[in-house]
């Protein structure tokens, strides 16, 4: 039951998270901001528009938003956000990472299918970042899985919830830092990509989706928000699993867990948005250095899990 609840929560809450983050940024920059509900208003507007097929595009271009959104939905169901009771066989961390990568891949193909320089440029950059992010994710997963002896997310989160002191161990802290950096890279936030820019020299994500309009764009915008909320929720569950329920919990406990999850993700989102105000986007070819740094942290986390155990 809880996977379905998580999906509903992410479907409804993801645009609000983005709206909240934009609002935090606006206030810190001294602007009034458009309000937390603005992303939902944008989605409503986009869905009402006529779908468009740009000249020379084909089925890959049309399928990409659907597959991207579908991977986000499945990830939202598989990741333990509210409860450690998860979809066995899908909630494996490698599977979730690979699912999210599948979403990026289809979007990159959609960008290439347009045959414009923008689409190709965005796709090429996105794939470069994806390739470099992968080692960090998998090695930090390795570090976290050693304790629970499983890469199943439910098992890892359940173990941490039972042994809260492990959160402050070097393994957890290093892995948390590494995963935070790759979350930023995966979701295209500053300093890796700027979701608010349309300047061709710096675009990654926005360049890929430049040709999308109407309901297609609505799907992509929603999916991006959902990926961000799932990854932030995952970070919260992995490193602050308090409040999360185990299998067979009552209705009240589940409701409390949902509220706690919303608070945790909101706090993380606000921190991320506040951090972005004080930072500039990195040059594209400085990003590998950042990711290499995060890989070293992940490797240290694994080393710590063996030598300090």
């Amino acid at each position: 039951m809880t996977p379905l609840l998580q999906v509903i929560l992410v479907v409804l809450g993801a645009p609000l998270l983005v709206g909240m983050m934009r609002q935090v940024r606006a206030r810190l920059e001294g602007r009034a901001g458009a309000g937390v509900l603005q992303p939902w208003r944008d989605l409503r507007k986009l869905v009402r528009k006529q779908p468009i097929t740009p000249d020379g595009t084909g089925w890959v271009f049309r399928m990409a938003p659907l597959v991207l959104a579908a991977t986000a939905l499945v990830a939202a169901a598989a990741v333990p956000l509210v409860s450690t009771e998860s979809m066995a066989g899908v909630s494996d961390l490698f599977a979730v990472v690979a699912l999210l990568a599948l979403g990026s891949v289809t979007l990159a193909l959609g960008g290439l299918d347009t045959g414009t320089a923008f689409g190709g440029m965005g796709a090429s950059r996105e794939m470069t970042v994806l390739a470099l992010v992968e080692p960090t994710i998998l090695v930090s997963v390795f570090a976290l899985s050693v304790r629970a002896d499983s890469t199943d997310l439910g098992a890892i989160v359940g173990y941490t919830a039972e042994q809260p002191l492990t959160v402050v161990s070097p393994v957890s802290l290093l892995a948390a830092a590494a995963l935070a950096i790759v979350t930023i890279a995966e979701t295209g936030r500053i300093p890796v990509d700027n979701p608010a820019t349309h300047l061709e020299l710096t675009m990654i994500h926005e360049a890929m989706i430049l040709e999308y309009a109407g309901p297609d764009l609505a799907l992509i915008e929603w999916a991006s928000a959902a990926r961000l909320s799932v990854l932030l929720g995952l970070l919260a569950s992995l490193f602050a699993p308090w409040g999360i329920v185990t299998a067979g919990a009552g209705v009240v406990a589940v409701l409390v867990a949902m509220v706690v999850l919303v608070v945790k993700v909101a706090v993380l989102g606000a921190l991320l948005a506040a951090g972005e105000v004080f930072m500039a986007k990195l040059r594209l070819f400085r990003i590998p250095e950042l990711l290499a740094g995060s890989f070293v942290m992940a490797l240290l986390a694994v080393a710590a899990s063996f030598f300090l155990a």
Binding site: G58, A108, V146, E211
Partner: protein, 659 residues
Amino acid sequence: MTGSLFVAALAVCVVTTVAALVVPSWLRSAVTGWGTAGGGALGVAAGASTLAGGRWAAWLPEVLPLAGVRLSLDPLGGVFVAVTGGVAVCAGIYAVGYARESGRVVQATLPLFVASMLLVPAAATVSTLLVGWELMALTSLLLVLAEHAHRAEVGRAGLWYAVMTHLGFVAILAGLAFFAAGAGGEAFDQLRGATLSPAARNVVFLATLAGFASKAGIVPLHVWLPRAHPEAPSHVSALMSAAMVNLGVYGIARVGLDLLGGGPQWWWLVVLGVGALSALFGILQAAVSTDLKRLLGYSTTENMGLVLVGVGAAGFFGPGSALAALALTAAVLHVVNHAGFKTLLFLSAGSVLRATGTRDLDALGGLRSRMPYTTVLFAIGALCASALPPGNGFVSEWLLLQSLIHALPSSGVAGAITMPLAVGVIALSAGLAVATFVKAFGVGFLARPRGSGAESATESPPSMLAGMGTAAACCALLALAPAAVLPGLSAILPGAPAVSGQVALRLNGVLGTISPVLIAGSLVLAVAALLAVLRLISTRRVRRAARLWDCGAGPMSARMEYTATSFAEPLQRVFDDVLAPESDVDVTPVRESAYLVERVRFQARIPDRIEHRLYEPVLAGLKAVGRSARVLANGSVHRYLAYGFYALTGALIVLAVLR
């Protein structure tokens, strides 16, 4: 039953060879194609019945003088027989339509090549193995050279292949001969019972490792692979890349794990190390390659590297442990998966080559509407090769990662350092594989055509599509129901199977569950739900065509598209130090003034660095030695007589001193 199937497979191949030589040319490709496919199908049946528990051994003393031929089928050999057979089925059906223009000898060699590949994993003596190995090398060399009259590079590729494969053969011959001399017999049963000194075992292992690794395309012995595989006709490329290279892995597993019965941990760390190096180097070269078949060739090096990581891990954990069983199962499953998707990809690349006349990704594009079936089939292959769910590559890489991850607590300091690095290498190669195949599919098939060949492309004939479709169906089966083949694969090792379960695969001995069907099913469900919701809430459903955003500068031409080179440019810059790309700018001024430029020529190229640094100095040195040796033979008879006199005198002096 097992034996008769296997003998029938060999017989069908040999009969097909003879038939191909005699039937008229209009019938030839159909006879060789269907004959090869039939032989392959019997090979699959023989392999499957071996894995189901059938055993077979035969002793044919009169076939080969002195040694005779001894054959036997056990599960380890059976897997490779079945994989070879499966690839042969797809390549055979494909060849019916593809190889119509090929010559008589080339077509007749194809079934013989398949027969030799079936023979190698069934060999039960050193001499039988070596004869099969050499037969395989010669037939494949003939097939690589099939188009030598049309393109000059084919000859060069053939030369590289011939030299490398024979150097490898010498290494295997030396290693196994030494082994057999120490064991007092050349039958595998005698080798198994042999007691050799540790130093002798090291020599045997390292010599055979070098020989077999060169066949598997493992760095630094891979240089022939990205040359020979692209230049061969595409169905031959598929057979070489999906079936022949596997036999290198078979050799390492047979000698190291079976005949030598495991060994010190450093052996397997070496195997793991070269595997990891190959995986990274191979996929990095593939990521920046713009030749579609060369890209696939480098990807073969990558995948064989991943397989060797699994084999190395299995040897490292030691026989009998649950992790070793898991690692070996993952490696063998990856061999099977790789055979499936690489067959599909090479056959699709052949379909593109037939239709457009080019392998250069920078000149392709827009095939989506012109070759719809090939596009979909290549997309399936690319999904499997990039190890993303719901492809089959994902399942075996997941198993491999699980075996490495669970090793940490129990494998000591060497394991604690090796395993995380191996996981990092696998992850990076998986990430780069994603980028590589997005490039191959996105640039090669989507958007608008970049060259005239791609513009006038037409779909391939049904027999080629049927060959590709068979491979795609195998990939889909392996991706969604790996449980159909896993019990067979676990027959290789004694004891409980490493992976069990039907819908969800459960690991034995360690925690871990994955369900490929559930992942694929929930994705389909999610797409359906999204479509339904969109239909419900969107008010205007008719799609409207619109111009692409061209910054207001008029319609875009195909020259403005991103190419494979530009797609890989960021990766090339990131890995600049490893790849060492070369670029050449040549400015020609007009005759009147040095300041007015008439023409600028820019050339960029990414050479294989290992070839550049390791092989070219050796080749240059050999050439220099040859050239200086020419001075000795200047045609003067007096001088030759003098050589004879001095040599005789020298020999006599040596003898006098020694006696």
